[in-house]
Subunit: 310 residues, 3 copies
């Protein structure tokens, strides 16, 4: 009985749908900035369920903020303080929240948990990250950031995107690539440690052949229009030593690297970050990972608006 | 100094008061469904304190939702993140929340905790479950479910209610029985493991003699107008084996049992559930435990309205 | 880039600013009580970030309540359920919340954490307690309590303030003393165990010499216009025995002590309390520690209003 408005994967998003999301995000952005009409109370009394089985700052707080700006309220459910602790199944928890709320954002450690959730409630379920599966709302805010920063040329020109980090497990990147493929000509460079490479099944789906590096390859910083960094989790290595060796050799973005990058490159990161970006890069105007969070509020307002509107 | 509007036990609820609650719950139900005026903003700026010393999904989230639909906001206090961790007494925590809020819902592991709480604040305290004591708002939503599903005949005819599960410790059932006794003619069947039987002091208060079974008794499924299931906590048995033996022999409601039940029986459960109801029963239209949650929001709106209105 | 409206320390508050805070707190108090216009919805859609690395009942709940009464909403961030658990720095967490909210209240175990936080966001940061540093909003509500209870004479007459308890580590008292020094003539009596004495660097800044006692000194209860009690943490002593010895000898405020105090003395406590005040004192009308919490909501509304207004 999945609600047609559920957002489980970016694979189901068409170019027209993407343009509609961007248009609405622009509308909320402009309402905030230009008209000084920052706080639209479009959905008073509406309730968003934030069901988070894993920790989150940005996804949870920005959906909460987006819902507040739309005039609604949020109810947070976390395992430690809910009936999950008494052994309640995900399905029953979602059925419950589906009755109390108008839409649900779910973060869960199991791949396909959002799909399962959407099958047991008639309210829209928004996938807020499901294990190493997908994270479609992050991907939408990422693509909105790319659109805002690079402009309309993304719809016509070739864009080179350098992805760096844990490309095997990053649900964010997987979801983003499905959206990038809606653009006419994206060229990918994948830079990751050997054991954290982009899965072949994703590479095989791309329109263009991708360039793959497991240590620094010449020219990749210089060529990139977008540098998308992700966190490498220390736990994935046998020792701190091994982790820092990998980071040191190839993957720390610092001022030196940035000096070789294009003047109009943008540096993105879904955050939280570890040691893969030097703090000195924060001051570089090409680092847009904090702006990315701001764009995220407007995109999440657009996503909620799409769901809550008739 | 207990506020006259505090709701500590269902023992103090008269038939007139019960009818008033039902009338208001109906009003909120109809406003949502019929008038499409779902979100009444009757109490803007009012604040509900949700003080939960034990985990909860339904009680907490549905009060939160009810308060939001009434236009107010909720403040959640839980032990791990509050001064309870610094050793603050329940009394001081309640005094504090009584100052910041307009009403308090308290869930606490001690019997009589709500009575104690109500004695130290002049705001209304709603008992959201006190140990193995009472759970009056669950009982009110249960009785509202029975009324909605069986109709006005509950006020005139004989109704047979089969209670199944942990009848010794279920605060929900104890509170519900006090309300059922307001109806003219309830006949009870109590089915529970030997060590989890309905306490004698409650049975002695009933207008009608009750039928007691410690394993399946013939005819009880066939006769029941209401089957009220509760969760049996594994922890109450010496081993998983013993738990499943008990469940297997007598207490799992499945399609086979349902095929012998009345065509108009209703199956209720306060949730969360364990293994005592087969998932296949969910599809049976006589299973109303999910509707029960929805009725719960309207009944809790009625309870809050009773407290917040002048 | 610290926002000029950030509130990090009471040292930066002038007498004019203090009077402005009191005036606004009075306005919110009167709106609630006299005009029966309790719930002002002055800042609809505005969002307050409550970032609490340490447990809190009063600071968190009263800011939440104050924001609700002003028409806004609050987003709570706590370490266990946020990216803090993934190792995110305080700076990145604050940058994030600065993007999602209109102002941030921060409680953190490190001294100077609020100053650090205010340096990385352009939103106002309110210090909600930073280690053994300061707690300016508690100090403001304390001074408002003193003003409300003692009246305008605080601006002209000599006031004797007896501080009792852990004067070394109490961030609340340190912040309060900076504010009390704005009044023309405060005389201090400091009563504390030897190892928990008021730091010399604070005593040296006072306009008047202070009287110091490490066990009960004659006349101090009789002379005081304000008795300000604080909790002594058991953990600071080698044994429960040592703790209770210290408490027993000198520092428990009971009916006997109160019988020797001025008829118009006020007894304050920031709460939560331990065993340093007998419960019997609660009934004494000179004990204002519960009224103090109520004044706190109005003062925190004033603080938020100061920040959110143009």
């Amino acid at each position: 009985m999945q609600n047609v408005k559920s957002l489980i994967t970016t694979r189901s998003i068409t170019i027209d749908k993407l343009k509609k999301y961007i248009k609405m995000a622009n509308f909320f952005y402009d309402s905030s900035k230009i008209n000084n009409n920052r706080y639209l109370q479009k959905y008073p009394g509406h309730i968003l369920g934030l069901v988070f089985y894993e920790p989150s700052t940005r996804t949870m707080a920005s959906f909460h903020a987006a819902m507040s700006r739309l005039g609604g309220t949020s109810i947070v459910i976390q395992p430690e303080t809910s009936s999950v602790k008494k052994g309640e199944t995900l399905e029953d928890t979602i059925r419950t929240m589906g009755i109390y709320t108008d839409a649900i954002v779910l973060r869960h450690f199991d791949k396909n948990s959002s799909e399962l959730a959407a099958s047991v409630t008639d309210k829209a379920v928004i996938n807020g990250g499901d294990g190493n599966g997908e994270h479609p709302t992050q991907a939408l805010l990422d693509i909105y950031t790319i659109y805002r920063e690079l402009g309309k040329r993304v719809f016509t020109e070739t864009i080179k995107v350098l992805f760096v980090g844990d490309l095997k497990n990053s649900r964010t990147i997987h979801s983003l690539i499905y959206l990038l493929e809606l653009f006419p000509n994206i060229q990918y460079i994948f830079l990751s440690p050997e054991k954290l490479q982009m899965p072949d099944e994703i590479k095989l789906e791309l329109k263009n052949p991708s360039r793959v590096c497991t240590s620094y390859c010449s020219g990749i910083i210089e060529e990139a229009d977008v540098i998308y960094m992700t966190r490498i989790q220390k736990e994935r290595f046998n020792s701190n030593f091994e982790y820092y060796e990998v980071l040191k050799d190839n993957f720390v973005l610092d001022e030196t690297n940035m000096s070789r990058a294009k003047p109009k490159v943008i540096v993105m990161h879904p955050l939280p970050r570890g040691d893969e970006i030097s703090k000195e890069v924060d001051k570089d105007s090409r680092a847009v990972y904090f702006k990315q969070m701001e764009y995220g509020v407007y995109m999440r307002m657009a996503i909620l608006d799409d769901i809550l509107s008739k």
